[in-house]
């Protein structure tokens, strides 16, 4: 067994103490010292950190370093492209190589934002036997935050990294024993240097996530539960606003809209918990905000589809799309301006302020279901929704029009929302396995819907192009090609529906639903 790689301590003189102790067993040969200042980068929603990684750009040597949170070990490095230094980076801005590959998988369409700076120094010591053969290395690592003006880094957090050499396990264990004896602790607890930077930038790992994770206490009333659910969504919506204004990446608007939609669904699915005029007023107001973002989101989606569209077409038809996407970029710039103008209005901010004020007010509501236990209410709604899904799904056959599938998708989505709202009041493992049962159907219905939307959009574009004289035949050919490919894909997706639905509509899932939500099992 090899000893732990990282050893740390918090008191002042531990490094000297350790080296003095090591010197009694080994000859110590200093191999040099490096120090560097680096800027850390993360996505707004901590995708790298969640994957156990930290990305930093060091100045000298000038490069990108991807390292592990757990033990700071370097996973991959990339050279820094020289010329311009943008404020935000996407994976595609990185030089071809391991760093870029990892970032593409982990960050996807999210931008990497600068998140503060830190300073780090590494001093390497080789431990040798009496023939001057190196048998182990110790690296003394120190780190600290750099403030905005670039100064003030006291290298506070420190520890040793023990680097064993192959074939010298005994010596590595002896060095580890010295570290332990001199009061160093192994493993967890040694902060990654980037944490200093995060703190200096006012952030904390995983302080934002778009995932709905409302934790409700068991005895909570329906009104209190709903207030928490809405507050959770409102927080998410508001935290995304700055990113929308700066137009950092498309996910800010996306998360903002999902949060609004979640709240609107809660208002319409869980009736009778708030006063009717509250339900009406905020339902309408939130819808108004969402509508103002529709156009921008549609354009974002189409621009993001570019790669997928090109993949559907043979190379000779791809050229026609260039002009189309250039045009879309222009349309998006206008849509962004219009959307931001709306969001900037005092009236818009007022809606969100009023909504928050209502949700944070302690007053007891007189609405009919306000004081009901949330658990019973949630189960009742889930039961109803599940039954509805079974009924609608069974009615779908090969000849049923597409609209029936779209409606079913919305029903399934509502069920998912209800599970997100009330899930914490249900037993966790059973809920998770029930949700799993839905995933395939949900994916199929989602893709089917996307394909229908894409097809409709491409058709509109084609008609518009044909109506306008002087349109390039190249574009028309590309769009025509896309239409037939999309139609093929849509049919393929629809063909999968039957099988996926039987994964839900069977005795075992119905029994599971009954156990979770109570009441009848909906089999009739």
């Amino acid at each position: 067994m090899s000893p732990p790689a990282v050893w740390w301590a918090t008191d002042e003189g531990f490094a000297d103490r350790v080296l003095a102790d090591v010197r009694r067993r080994f000859k110590i040969v200093p191999e040099g010292r490096q120090s560097m200042t680096a800027r850390s980068f993360e996505t707004f929603d901590w995708r790298l950190w969640e994957d156990g990684l930290v990305l930093a750009r060091s100045a000298r040597p000038s490069r990108w370093v991807l390292s592990r949170v757990e033990d700071r070990a370097i996973v991959a490095t990339a050279s820094k492209p020289g010329k311009t230094v943008p404020q935000k980076w996407f994976w595609s801005d990185f030089p071809v190589g391991a760093v870029r590959d990892r970032l593409r998988k982990i960050c996807g369409i999210r931008a990497l934002l600068p998140m503060g700076r830190f300073r780090e120094s590494r001093e390497c010591f080789a431990l040798c036997d009496d023939e001057d053969k190196i048998v182990c290395r110790l690296v003394l690592e120190k780190s600290g935050a750099v403030d905005a003006r670039g100064g003030g880094a006291s290298l506070s957090a420190a520890g040793f990294r023990l680097i064993p050499l192959k074939g010298y396990d005994k010596e590595a264990r002896a060095a580890a024993a010295c570290l332990a004896q001199m009061g160093c602790r192994a493993g967890d607890g040694w902060v990654h240097p980037a944490l200093h930077a995060f703190t200096a930038a006012g952030r904390e790992p995983e302080d934002y996530s778009s995932k709905a994770r409302v934790d409700l206490p068991p005895q909570i009333t329906a009104a209190d539960a709903c207030k928490r659910i809405h507050l959770f969504s409102l927080d998410i919506a508001e935290r995304n606003l700055p990113g929308i204004f700066e137009d950092i990446d498309t996910e800010f608007l996306h998360d903002f809209r999902v949060a609004l939609r979640r709240s609107r669904s809660a208002l319409s699915l869980v009736k009778g918990v708030f006063p009717a005029r509250v339900e009406k007023r905020f339902g309408e107001n939130l819808a108004k905000i969402q509508r103002a973002t529709n156009r921008l989101r549609d354009l974002d989606v189409h621009l993001l589809e570019r790669g997928a569209f090109e993949a559907l077409l043979p190379p000779e038809l791809q050229a026609g799309l260039d002009g189309l996407f250039r045009q879309l970029e222009g349309e998006r710039a206008r849509a962004l301006r219009r959307c931001l103008t709306f969001l900037e209005r005092p009236a818009t901010a007022q809606i969100l302020r009023d909504w928050r004020a209502f949700l944070e007010s302690p007053g007891e509501s007189s609405a009919p279901l306000a004081q009901d236990p949330a658990e019973a209410l949630g189960k009742r709604l889930l039961r109803k929704r599940f039954r509805r899904i079974l009924k609608d799904g069974r009615a779908i056959g090969a000849k049923t029009p597409d609209t029936a599938l779209h409606k079913l998708r919305l029903q399934v989505k509502k069920l998912r929302y209800l599970l997100e709202f009330f899930g914490s009041l249900l037993p966790a493992p059973e809920t998770a396995s029930f949700v799993k049962r839905f995933r395939r159907l949900q994916n199929i219905l989602g893709r089917f819907n996307d394909l229908c939307n894409q097809e409709a959009w491409v058709r509109r574009r084609l008609e518009a192009a044909e109506a306008k004289s002087g349109t390039s035949t190249e574009l028309a050919a590309s769009l025509g090609g896309l239409l037939s490919e999309l139609g093929r894909a849509r049919n393929a997706e629809r063909a999968k529906f039957g099988r996926a639905f039987t994964r839900l509509d069977n005795p075992s899932v119905r029994a599971r639903a009954k156990a979770l939500f109570g009441g009848k099992d909906g089999s009739k």
Binding site: E131, K133, Y168
Partner: protein, 247 residues
Amino acid sequence: MKVIALYNIKGGVGKTAAAVNLAYLAASEGTRTLLCDLDPQAAATYYLRVRAPKRHGSKRLIQGGKALDRQIRESNFPGLDLLPAKMGFRNLDLKLDARKRSRRRLAESLHSLTGAYELVVIDAPPNITLLSENIIEAADLLLCPVIPTTLSLRTWDQLDRFLRKEKLPRDGLRAFFSMAERRKKLHAATIRETLDSDPRFFPSVIPMSAAVERMGPERAPLFVYDKRSVAARAFRGLWDDIQCQLR
């Protein structure tokens, strides 16, 4: 994984010097390299300051896998590992003889290291034994240092004839001139004539040099203490020639 073996029937021609320096160069370029010291004199092991493990011998060498891996020592230089030599290797011939397919044993054993290393450099002992035959079988490149003298060239011919007679692989057989003294007219002429007539000789020539001799007292590859010497440059040239060949 490629295997280069430094081999010559004749002793003292610069096999070990070449094995250590070429392995060092490969590793310094980022190639994960294992230097196998299969000569019981253990000169390469000495140059890298490694002490051979106590329980180490011929059995583990031909077993391959974990048993072999456990004998490997990381050197002082990044990317370069060493399989140390041991007097125990003297008995290797006997051990090999007792097994079937006894010529392929080393190749099979080294094969178990694929994945861990991209390059294996073997420093072979100067003789013709069953172990040498195993080394010849295992090598993608059988590299023979030749001193530019008539006698040395004769052993090179003998080696070629031996391989042919024993039906050992000859495709990978290459040579280079070692310990060459350009000022000696005879050396210069021999080099010129051979390079013109025998395409198996690499163009780079390693000169006789005090810098190479210092590997003994320094106990380090040449590049660690005198990377700018003429000999260092010659080894770099030879390494380039070899890489072209391996590609």
